[in-house]
């Protein structure tokens, strides 16, 4: 569909200036909003700003260009679900399912996140400035060149990294009390991937072991933290000074001797 057609069919709440589209999402149903985003994507639009977002779901789903989207408000569940390539910045908090089964692209949240961040994520990057909820990074996976990354600035709740099969999950614990994360069952069922946690984790799943970081780890972590801090104006050096714990799976076959053959 040609941009001219889109503009012609456009609702009153869309303004396009050069290659930037500005949408007022007040009262717009999620289906209409996402359909609009899809038609803008790949039509010469490089940037979309959506204002007054209150709970619209699936924003960013099925967009495959490298379009940049700025969301103002509180997007609904499954932001960026199955996303393949877009770059979303949220100026507010996100709800559950952010980056659900994301394939590639990027999500930067200036606030907190709900449950299931990056569930089954396969690639791409998610940055959450504050805290996140339950089951962050559950079943993240990697294959060949494709590797997903999640960085949480605050702390996360129970079942962090549950069932991880690949990818990198970083929790920085900025502002937590006594450098202690209260999450329980961290890494339960982990059989792939790596977690870097700044601060102490006191309740781990059986499948996890804690080790020290090596050169490669410091390099990777450094890059991620630098990138994270660049979005929020934070001091990367100060953060990297503290102790990080590296969590890895004990085995890639944690349940090998569970069955009677």
């Amino acid at each position: 569909m040609v941009l001219k057609d889109v503009i012609n069919r456009v609702p009153e709440n869309l303004i396009i200036k050069k290659n930037v589209a500005m949408i007022d999402a007040t009262g717009v149903y999620y289906r209409d909003l996402n359909s609009l985003l899809r038609s803008l994507d790949g039509n010469g639009i490089e940037k979309i700003e959506i204002r007054n977002v209150y709970g619209q779901r699936y924003i960013g789903t099925d967009l495959d260009g490298h379009i940049k989207i700025d969301v103002y408000g509180t997007p609904g569940n499954d932001l960026g679900a199955f996303m393949k390539g877009a770059n979303i910045t949220v100026h507010g908090n996100v709800q559950d399912g952010c980056g659900n089964t994301m394939d590639h692209g990027q999500i930067v949240v200036h606030g907190r996140a709900g449950d299931l961040v990056g569930h089954s994520m396969r690639g791409g990057k998610i940055f959450i400035r504050d805290d996140a909820g339950y089951r962050v990074g559950i079943h993240m996976k990697e294959y060949l060149g494709k590797r997903p990354f999640i960085v949480i600035g605050g702390t996360a709740q129970d079942f962090l990294g549950e069932y991880m099969a690949g990818g990198v999950l970083v929790v920085l614990g900025i502002n937590i009390k006594e450098s202690r994360h209260n999450a329980r069952f961290v890494g339960t069922g982990m059989h792939g991937g790596t977690m870097y946690i700044r601060g102490e984790v006191h309740h781990l799943g059986e499948e996890v072991e804690v080790t020290d970081l090596e050169e490669d780890d410091f390099r990777l972590l450094g890059n991620l933290v630098d990138e994270f801090c660049s979005y929020y104006g934070l001091d990367a050096e100060k953060i990297l000074e503290s102790k990080f714990n590296k969590l890895v799976p004990v085995s890639s076959r944690p349940y090998g001797n569970l069955y009677a053959y």
């Binding site: 339960t188 069922g189 569970l258």
Partner: protein, 504 residues
């Protein structure tokens, strides 16, 4: 007189495979096999074979096949093989036909007609390997409500004092099997496995052997009609006391440990002379009515300063619901129900197979009756009688049991093949015997490992099934009849079990 009863089993030996190692000759305690030196061949006396499969299991070349004697009487749904042979044996001996283990007749098991639920869509199933799955169970009397003090700082202070509880890490315990009906090495294996896994084993009516006192925290001591080995130390040694009124295999009758099995060691623990029959009276002679039971329960509580829960075990019979209600009101901390399939070391076959009712029915009606009377919290309910798999355990809990007792399954884990000849005292697996030459065939270290392995395997399966139902704490299964559906059951059966038909 000549016996008209033909051998039940035929031993077939593949002479090409047989290497004349004579393991079968040594292992068989019934003297079935013998070595003919002249012809360098091993032969068998079919009439002695009981199909325990010890020889077949240990033969290094698998040369032995035990076959049911194909010489059957003519097929007859009424005059079965067993009926005819039984009559002939009785005519020849003028005696009561004995047997061991539990009722083997068909159509008395309801577990196989009950099916469990699983969550689909409306409720997520839970991964027991990754998310917490709680099977911890406390057996004992619970109050209907608690008195609590709320503190300034937000803490909670308990004011009510709870009755003593047993803590089980898995809802499966080892049921009563007397020292005498089974060997000391088996008791050692049971005690060790129970301690390791965090559950309990029951001494049965033969007392607690001295060397096992150290496992006391994981022992339930039984006080049965024969009061064998019952003294103050014994009562205080265990974590709980069980008054045995009856057992599923032989409701209403007493017990009988034949003199052959009363060895020196047995006589020491039971405190009776060597070689005499150990007779357990039919009733407990100080319990002729429900108020007597109350008296005994409190006598035992006094003797142990109210620190141990007191259980009462009955066979599942027609009025189990009313009896159980009486038992609970008499002050018992738990009611144990033993169904018709319960096992034994020795019982008259006619009683084993014809007296008593299935545990599923008794359990369902007892649980419902106690709830109808508002007294279900006062005592735990423990179910027993032929429980053979983890699915049976979970179904029992869904019907209302707090925990189950297993005995036959435990012996099978140790090697038993349920040949039903325990009463002979010649168990070649070293289990149901007190013959020291045989009992050393059970190594308590390996035995404990096998039993712990059994409990572990079943516990994992239970957790998987619970997770599949979207439940992560066993309290939510207990008495939750909606988790069960029946197949092939009549309306009345469904009603008594308190469950719906599959599809409803």
């Amino acid at each position: 007189m000549k016996s008209y009863v033909s051998p039940e089993y035929i031993v077939e030996r593949d002479q090409d495979r047989c290497i004349r190692c004579k393991v079968c000759v040594n292992q068989c305690s019934y003297e079935t096999h013998y070595y003919d030196e002249e012809d360098d061949i091993i032969l068998s006396r079919n009439e002695n074979c009981v199909n325990c499969q010890r020889c077949a299991t240990f033969c290094p070349t698998q040369a032995i096949t035990i076959r049911e004697n194909p010489n059957h009487y003519r097929s007859n749904a009424n005059w079965t093989q067993e009926a005819i042979a039984g009559i002939k044996k009785q005519a020849e001996t003028g005696g009561v036909v004995l047997t061991g283990m539990g009722c083997d007749k068909p159509n008395l098991t309801y577990w196989d007609r009950l099916l469990l639920n699983a969550s689909q869509v409306t409720n997520p199933s839970i991964d027991p390997l990754r998310e917490p799955m709680e099977m911890r169970t406390y057996i004992g009397s619970k109050p209907d409500s608690l008195e609590l003090d709320m503190e300034e700082c937000g803490g909670v202070m308990l004011k009510t004092k709870l009755a003593p509880q047993l803590r089980l890490e898995t809802p499966i315990m080892f049921s009563a099997m007397s020292y005498g009906s089974i060997s000391l090495n088996v008791h050692k294996s049971l005690a060790r496995a129970a301690s390791e896994v965090g559950t309990f084993y029951n001494t049965g009516e033969g007392g607690l052997e001295k060397s096992l006192y150290k496992y006391g925290d994981h022992v339930i001591v039984q006080v049965a009609s024969g009061r064998f080995g019952v003294h103050s130390e014994y009562l205080n040694a265990g974590a709980a006391i069980e008054i045995k009124i009856g057992q599923g295999a032989k409701p209403g009758i007493g017990g009988h440990l034949p003199g052959e099995k009363v060895s020196k060691e047995i006589s020491e623990t039971r405190m009776i002379p060597v070689g005499t029959d150990a007779l357990s009276p039919a009733p407990q002679h100080d319990i002729y009515s429900i108020e007597d039971l109350r008296q005994l329960i409190y006598a035992l509580k006094e003797a142990t300063d109210y620190t141990k829960p007191v259980f009462v075990k009955i066979a599942a019979v027609h009025n189990s619901a009313a009896i159980a209600s009486g038992i609970v009101r008499a002050g018992a901390d738990a009611v144990v129900l033993d169904g018709v399939r319960g096992g034994t070391g020795a019982a008259p076959r006619i009683i084993r197979d014809n007296v008593g009712i299935p545990i599923e029915m008794a359990l369902a009606s007892v649980d419902q009756r106690l709830r109808d009377e508002g007294i279900r919290n006062k005592a735990s309910v423990i179910a027993a009688g032929g429980i053979k798999s983890s699915a049976d355990v979970l179904k029992a809990i869904a019907l209302g049991a707090d925990a189950v007792y297993i005995a036959t399954a435990a012996l099978v884990a140790l090697g038993c093949t349920v040949c039903q000849k325990c009463y002979t005292g010649k168990c070649p697996w070293g289990i149901a015997t007190t013959d020291l030459w045989l009992t050393k065939r059970i190594n308590p270290d390996l035995g404990a490992k096998r039993l712990a392995g059994l409990l572990r395997g079943w516990s994992l399966e239970i957790m998987e099934m619970m997770g599949g139902m979207g439940i992560n704490a066993i309290e939510s299964v207990r008495g939750n009849r909606l988790l069960l559906r029946g197949v092939g059951l009549t309306d009345k059966e469904l009603k008594i079990l308190g469950i719906r038909m599959a599809g409803e």
